[in-house]
């Protein structure tokens, strides 16, 4: 059984490692999917919010001068209660209008980077865990005169990712328990021959030891098995040891 437990333990450890890697990769993937889904939606919201500002830009009006801009943005924010802020910004990133009563002077650096790398008119990303989506506002010549940025808080995404990680971890533990049971059964069945061989080996050694202590107490010696098995070799080696020991004893006697 000792051999079985060792193999079973090693295989269970490998299984645990696979499950841990799976849970880790799946959670990372979920974070990516979640962030992309939210980002894409915010991108569409930003595009929708940019409409009235683009109409003004096409008429040649400056973005900062759009009347009731805050009202327009607040109406968009009301379509999703989770939106933390919507900013309208100038080409250099300076915020012109915002739903935030105390907006920062400029849009976050992550949004500036995503905007500079975007090939299309809209873009999305993540700034220190906060998902965002943005859209460019263009004038009649197609030149960007600014943009709209929609921000989401980090907390709901982080909570969802943690919940997913925990759910997968619990499932993995249940699967690990089942898989180790299955592994144990399969190893027992598959390595039956080896385990039987090891048990026979143990039995042969145990038989030899038992006969040795019994004969030391005067029991008649057991009939030695024939062949070249371990028991026969143990008996032969023990006999040779005892004989040699007695010879040494005899050789030592005259000197006493």
């Amino acid at each position: 059984m000792a051999l079985f437990w060792r193999i079973w333990l090693a295989i269970s450890a490998i299984n645990l490692l696979i499950l841990a890697i799976f849970v880790g990769l799946a959670t990372l993937q979920f974070a990516t999917i979640q962030s992309r889904l939210v980002g894409e939606r915010l991108e569409v919201i930003a595009g929708h919010a940019a409409g009235p500002f683009e109409a003004a830009a096409r008429l040649g009006l400056p973005l900062g001068g759009v009347r009731n801009a805050s009202g327009l943005l607040l109406r968009i924010q009301q379509t999703d209660a989770d939106i933390s802020a919507i900013h309208v910004f100038a080409p250099d990133g300076a915020i012109l209008h915002s739903t935030d009563p105390a907006p920062p002077p400029r849009i976050p650096p992550g949004a500036i980077a995503a905007r500079s790398m975007a090939a299309a008119g809209s873009w999305a990303g993540n700034d220190r865990g906060e998902p965002f989506g943005g859209a460019e506002i263009r004038d009649t010549s197609g030149r960007s005169v600014g943009g709209v940025l929609v921000l989401y808080p980090a907390a709901p995404s982080v909570t969802r990712i943690r919940a997913m990680g925990s759910e997968l971890m619990v499932s993995a533990l249940v699967i690990l328990v089942l898989a180790t049971g299955l592994g144990g059964a399969l190893i027992r069945a598959g390595l039956r021959r080896e385990f039987r061989g090891f048990e026979a080996l143990e039995a042969a050694i145990h038989g030899f030891e038992r006969d040795a202590w019994r004969s030391a107490a005067g029991a008649p010696p057991a009939t030695p098995p024939g062949g070249e098995g371990i028991r026969a070799r143990l008996d032969a080696a023990e006999t040779r040891y005892r004989e040699t020991g007695r010879t040494l004893e005899r050789s030592a006697e005259p000197t006493r």
Binding site: A2, L3, R6, I7, A10, I11, I14, N15, I18, L19, I21, F22, L25, A26, Q29, F30, I33, Q34, L37, E40, R41, E43, V44, T79, A163, M164, E167, L168, S171, I175, L178, A179, G183, L186, I187, G190, L191, R193, E194, G197, F198, A200, L201, E202, I205, G229, I230, R233, L234, A236, A237, R240, T244, G245, T247, L248, E249, S251, A252, T255
Partner: protein
């Protein structure tokens, strides 16, 4: 196996049964967690998908409503399909958007074209994944309901998003099966078979009256007790013998034919291939971890203006092959002088440092230099292991020991290529190199404890080899084998598998993980069928058939790229090429050994020309073929492989009367 004296990892049956059990357990685990993940993902993203669908519906309804407010009749809306197509572009999960009237007549509809993909179309996933969902929003003209907007969400959305995770995990599961197999075999070896072999050896000595040795204590249950008992026999007799006067000692040894140790009995050290299995496996994993991305990594590094990017990509491979070719002829002499254990343990720290340095190297020269250093140290370490394995097997078991040695190396290379791709893709190439350095360091730490056999090993008990017969410098069959089979095989491996495949797949937009999965396919056949091919070649049919069949398969696989191109044809070509090469590799050595036995050129000549073939092929490919023209170049190489096989076959037919008949290769 009546008393268990034949429990050992070399037993093929044990390996097969253990592999089968492990494959079932790992597959069941991965499949179960895969199904659970899809369910969990779909449940978790459902609110966000609902938000998105609601948003699409609201925006669309706003647009339609605006048109209706302008007085355009609902039935007369035109050009809406373009708007719907734009919307679908932004939302991958939407399969269809339709605007229909109250009577059910479809005013506008756009459906996403079928994307395909095996996970999206899998019947199994259809059974476990979410059903298609449809969301509807009414459209009002004033207070009158005039129609609705219907949005169908694709049921395969989450599955396609999880495709990469599943593919990565399949690779990790395959690697885990091989690691678990090696670990289980190491447990059997260290717990039972090695202690048992030591006990049996000492028993044989002691029953013959030789009490000179003791053995390393240890082993499961009774084996540990027996080892302690036998050690005590030798120590006890040695102590009592030492107490006798010298005259009595001489008399006793002469009369009884018994031998006693002078002082503490010497420790008996047995050499076994199993001692180095796990270390060799980890060394191979670590050394080949960059197989999926090395040419791309090197091409992207800083290089002098005169160096074309193709040569920059091939430079580390060329340095590696050249280093191996330089060291191989002196390998055996090095092992004789330094010893297998010292050479192996001495080479590993060099590989660890070189792998870490490769991870931080900024220039092509640096990457090539460190890869060359790895080549030198890797060649030294593997030669040391091979020597250790041959000594473990003795002369009679040398072929089997080398077969086992090759199987461990290929399993390691298979794992290295695949796991390296996954790690580089997810965590960057530096992380992959650091992992490789860690694995090689672990291999060294394990070898310190396990590679403890007698440096002279079983070879000590073998008769001295007879003087080598005079060799013919030229043998027609050997020449045909070298030029027609061995050199094309090695050239194809270096050019196609190591060099062009990573470059071609990267050009096609694949990342390191995908490239690793494809490169891994080349070694899959060697892992699955390597041992069987060796036995087949040793069987009645002889080695010539597999060699020619393998060359034919490899040539056809390479030529297939003249007809097809793209990711899947390359993956299929690599897998079939691996199969062809697996059929060739062991039988070609058997043929070379047979030629050597008849006084022809030695196996060393074949190995030397293998390296030359790989280096020359790689150099030519780097100078003449870029990733753009790779398909045609590979097809041409296929033609060369087929021509080589034809040359070999013709020589065999012409030389049939000249040299051995029947099955002599």
């Amino acid at each position: 196996m009546s008393d268990g004296t034949s429990i050992g990892p070399d037993h093929e049956g044990l390996r097969v049964r253990l592999s089968r059990a492990l494959a079932v357990v790992v597959t069941a685990t991965v499949l179960a967690l895969g199904i659970v993940s899809v369910w969990a993902f779909e449940t978790a993203v459902a609110p966000e998908l609902a938000n998105r669908t609601r948003l699409i519906g609201l925006i669309l309804r706003d647009e339609v409503q605006r048109a209706l407010d302008l007085g355009i009749p609902f039935d007369a809306l035109v050009g809406v399909e373009v708007y719907l197509a734009d919307t679908i572009e932004k939302f991958d999960e939407v399969e269809r958007i339709a605007i229909s009237s109250q009577t059910g007549r479809v005013i506008a509809e756009y459906r996403r074209p079928e994307s395909g993909g095996f996970l999206a179309e899998s019947a199994l996933w259809d059974a476990v994944a979410m059903r298609a969902a449809t969301f509807s929003l009414p459209i009002l003209d004033g207070n009158r309901l005039v129609g609705e907007i219907a949005i169908d969400v694709s049921p395969g959305f989450v599955r396609t998003r999880m495709r990469d995770v599943f593919l990565d995990i399949v690779v990790i599961a395959l690697v885990a099966v091989l690691i678990a197999l090696e670990l289980a075999l190491a447990i059997v070896t260290q717990s039972v078979s090695k202690p048992l072999a030591r006990v049996m050896r000492l028993l044989d000595e002691q029953r013959a009256g030789v009490f000179l040795h003791r053995i390393r204590p240890g082993g499961l249950g009774g084996l540990g007790r027996t080892a302690a008992r036998l050690n005590d026999h030798a120590a006890d007799l040695a102590q009592r013998f030492a107490a006798l006067p010298s005259a009595a000692c001489a008399r006793l040894e002469a009369a009884a034919g018994t031998r006693f140790a002078a002082g503490l009995p010497a420790q008996l050290r047995l050499t076994d291939l199993a001692d180095i299995r796990l270390s060799l496996f980890l060394l191979s994993v670590g050394s080949e971890i960059a197989a999926a991305f090395l040419p791309v990594y090197s091409r992207a590094a800083a290089r002098p203006d005169w160096l074309p990017p193709e040569l920059a990509a091939a430079a580390p491979l060329l340095a590696y092959l050249a280093a191996i070719a330089c060291l191989t002829p002196f390998g055996s002499r090095l092992v004789r002088h330094v010893g297998a254990r010292a050479l192996f343990l001495g080479s590993l720290p060099v590989i660890v440092v070189a792998l870490a340095a490769m991870g931080f190297a900024q220039s092509v020269a640096g990457i090539a230099l460190w890869r060359g250093v790895i080549g030198l140290a890797y060649a030294a370490a593997t030669i040391a292991c091979q020597d250790y394995a041959i000594r473990a097997g003795g002369t009679a078991g040398a072929a089997r020991a080398v077969g086992g040695f090759m199987a461990v190396i290929y399993a390691g290379v298979f794992c290295g290529a695949s796991i390296g791709g996954v790690v580089a893709d997810r965590f960057g190439t530096e992380a992959a190199f650091m992992l490789a350095a860690g694995l090689v360091a672990l291999a060294g730490a394990l070898a310190l404890g396990t590679m403890v056999g007698d440096p002279r090993g079983a070879a000590r008990t073998q008769p001295r080899p007879r003087a080598a017969p005079a060799r013919r410098p030229l043998d027609l069959r050997h020449l045909a084998l070298v030029l027609g089979i061995a050199m094309p095989l090695n050239a194809a491996t270096a050019i196609v598998v190591w060099y062009l495949t990573p470059l071609m797949l990267t050009e096609a937009g694949a990342g390191p993980a995908e490239t690793g999965r494809v490169v891994m396919l080349y070694y899959l056949a060697a892992v699955l069928f390597g041992a069987r091919t060796t036995r087949f070649a040793e069987g009645r049919s002889g080695p010539t058939g597999p060699v020619l069949a393998g060359a034919l398969i490899a040539g056809c696989a390479l030529m297939s790229l003249a007809l097809w191109s793209g990711f899947w044809p390359i993956a299929a070509m690599i897998a079939v090429l691996g199969l062809g090469h697996t059929l060739i590799r062991a039988p070609q050595y058997a043929i070379a050994v047979a030629i050597e036995a008849r006084g022809g050129p030695g196996l060393g000549t074949l190995r030397l020309f293998e390296r030359i073939g790989a280096i020359a092929g790689l150099l030519m490919a780097a100078l003449l073929i870029g990733p753009q023209g790779a398909g045609a170049g590979i097809a041409l190489l296929g033609l060369a492989v087929l021509a080589g096989a034809g040359l070999y076959a013709v020589v065999l037919i012409l030389d049939r009367d000249g040299q051995g008949r029947g099955r002599t290769p």
